[in-house]
Amino acid sequence: MTRLALFGGIYSNYRALEAALHDVARRGVDGVYCLGDIGAFGPYPDRAYPLLREVGVHAIQGNYDNSLAEGLADCQCGYTDPRDNYFARLSYTYTFRNTSEENKAWLRTLPLILRLTVEDRRVLLCHGSPRKMNEFLWESTTPDHFLGYLLDQAQADIACVTHSGIKWHRSLPDNRHAVNVGVLGRPENDGQTNVWYTLLTISPSSVGVEFVPVVYNHEALAADMRAEKLPQEFIETILTGWWTTCLEILPHKERARGRY
């Protein structure tokens, strides 16, 4: 049996990352993987990197990391709503300015995907979808047949993604799996302040997916964000668990569950 811990979307939330890594260490796992988007949204971007490197987390690039590493003009989230774009720009400019050259250089060394063979199963780790780094895979808009197509194309039995910010797991009839591992950076628009990571347990006969809630000092993070003069809208999300920005990308079901 092999157990992996997976998370994505740290979004500079070094406090949640610390809490998640502590929980992972307490449980004991065979590998820890970060599926990208280390910076964004939160305060003090450089604080997350040493935590990842210290415990040897295997990381891949997300769209945010790719933009920071390549010095692009935006985060490649693809927003068109002017309000979403306004906040995306603020967040990207802050993160770009406050990420050291050393960390940007480290991001450049990260792969775009990782392939593992675990207990004879082909596991693909990627940021958005197996075919595109910034494709959002939401539970309510990712049908089974389409997942089957993506897994066929990627030649994988299990695909793990993040990017959208809300976790889900789909087990397909042919014993293949797709897992959106969720994000550590901000709560998932459900009115709760905790964030999530994923434990993937693979044995010769089964695949188990457990979503683990991470309770951390979110009030301290909000204080950090205030000190850094980050937008009140971002702080509200951390303190209430409801998304206030980047809402246009949410499909109907996910949007209807939120407050805004």
Binding site: Q76, L112, S140, T141, P143, H145, F146, H252
Partner: protein
């Protein structure tokens, strides 16, 4: 002039021209000339929809779209939604004028029972009643605001789509204006998407000389992700065959086959409207995607530790 050709990479989006070009309105900017008694294309039978849904599911389709004309003129539209939502998320593009209490109840029932998202996209062209009705017809503004309120009361959050018909100096007032009137109508969490006016159909008569969009060239596509273009990821089923994209159904050269299976060939970008798609990204989808950079996993970019 040689037009760049685009391959169908994968059928992500399956469109049904469900009521052909029949519509109860005749908007002055309509890109496919739909209107009352316009029978360029007719209604799709539910058996045809079922057959192509099955074929598309086998290919791994990602999303289903219903358009027209006015889709709610089709008496079997709710059943088509139910069948589509069993295999994929579905979106309908409507003018909203036919959504009464009974229809809204049925939509809420379908949406709640569905495993995947149902998106209701309602067109509205101004937050000012007179300006809107000058484009869409007398009395339309009030009917549409009523429909939006009805859906919102039932937990459905329609996506209000607006075609850009205003001048640049009015731009800053547009979104706040929509948000305000929608909230006043009882829609507390308005979703609004602005679309470009397309150089096609009645819009060419409405704005003579305004559309000098160039043709797409190979040079423009250098370094551009062709997968953002509709023709690389979509096909439209009509009662007269399968077309390359919903914008071009009046162009005979854009018919690619009689059914989905026979319509997978590549398409040359030979119309001015192809430039709109190139310029604005996948404008027909629910979320526009316009991306800078290298976000595709290209063969060269695949640096996994296999």
């Amino acid at each position: 002039m040689k037009h760049p050709a685009v391959e169908l990479t994968h059928l992500d989006n399956l469109w049904f021209q469900v009521t052909g070009t029949l519509c109860n309105l005749a908007c002055t900017h309509c890109f496919n000339n739909s209107g009352p008694n316009v029978r360029t294309f007719g209604f799709l039978m539910i058996a045809r929809v079922r057959q192509e849904l099955e074929a598309a599911a086998q290919c791994g389709v990602k999303e289903i779209f219903f358009t027209g004309g006015e889709p709610f003129l089709h008496p079997q539209l709710p059943e088509m939604f139910e069948e589509s939502l069993r295999c994929a998320p579905a979106t309908v593009l409507t003018n909203g004028t036919i959504i009464n209490d009974r229809v809204a109840d049925r939509l809420a029932e379908i949406e709640q029972a569905a495993r995947y998202s149902l998106e209701i996209r309602i067109s509205l062209d101004s937050f000012d009643e007179q300006t809107n009705d000058a484009i869409r017809g007398p009395g339309v503004f009030r009917k549409v605001m009523g429909a939006i309120a009805r859906l919102s009361e039932r937990g459905i959050l329609p996506l209000v789509t607006v075609v850009r018909t205003w001048s640049d100096e009015n731009e800053p007032q547009i979104l706040p204006g929509f948000v305000q009137i929608l909230k006043e109508a009882g829609y507390a969490r308005p979703r609004v998407k602005i679309l470009p006016a397309l150089p096609l159909g009645r819009e060419l008569v409405r704005s003579p000389g305004a559309h000098e969009e160039p043709y797409v060239t190979e040079e423009m596509l250098r370094g551009f992700d062709r997968e953002l273009l509709m023709c690389s990821n979509s096909r439209v089923v009509t009662d007269r065959g399968v077309w390359v994209c919903p914008l071009l159904i009046e162009m005979p050269d854009a018919k690619l086959g009689d059914n989905l299976a026979g319509a997978a060939r590549k398409y040359g970008l030979r119309h001015r409207a192809c430039y709109s798609c190139f310029q604005y990204g996948t404008i027909c989808g629910n979320v526009n995607v316009q991306i800078e950079g290298t976000a595709t996993h290209t063969a060269a970019g695949m640096r996994g530790n296999a």
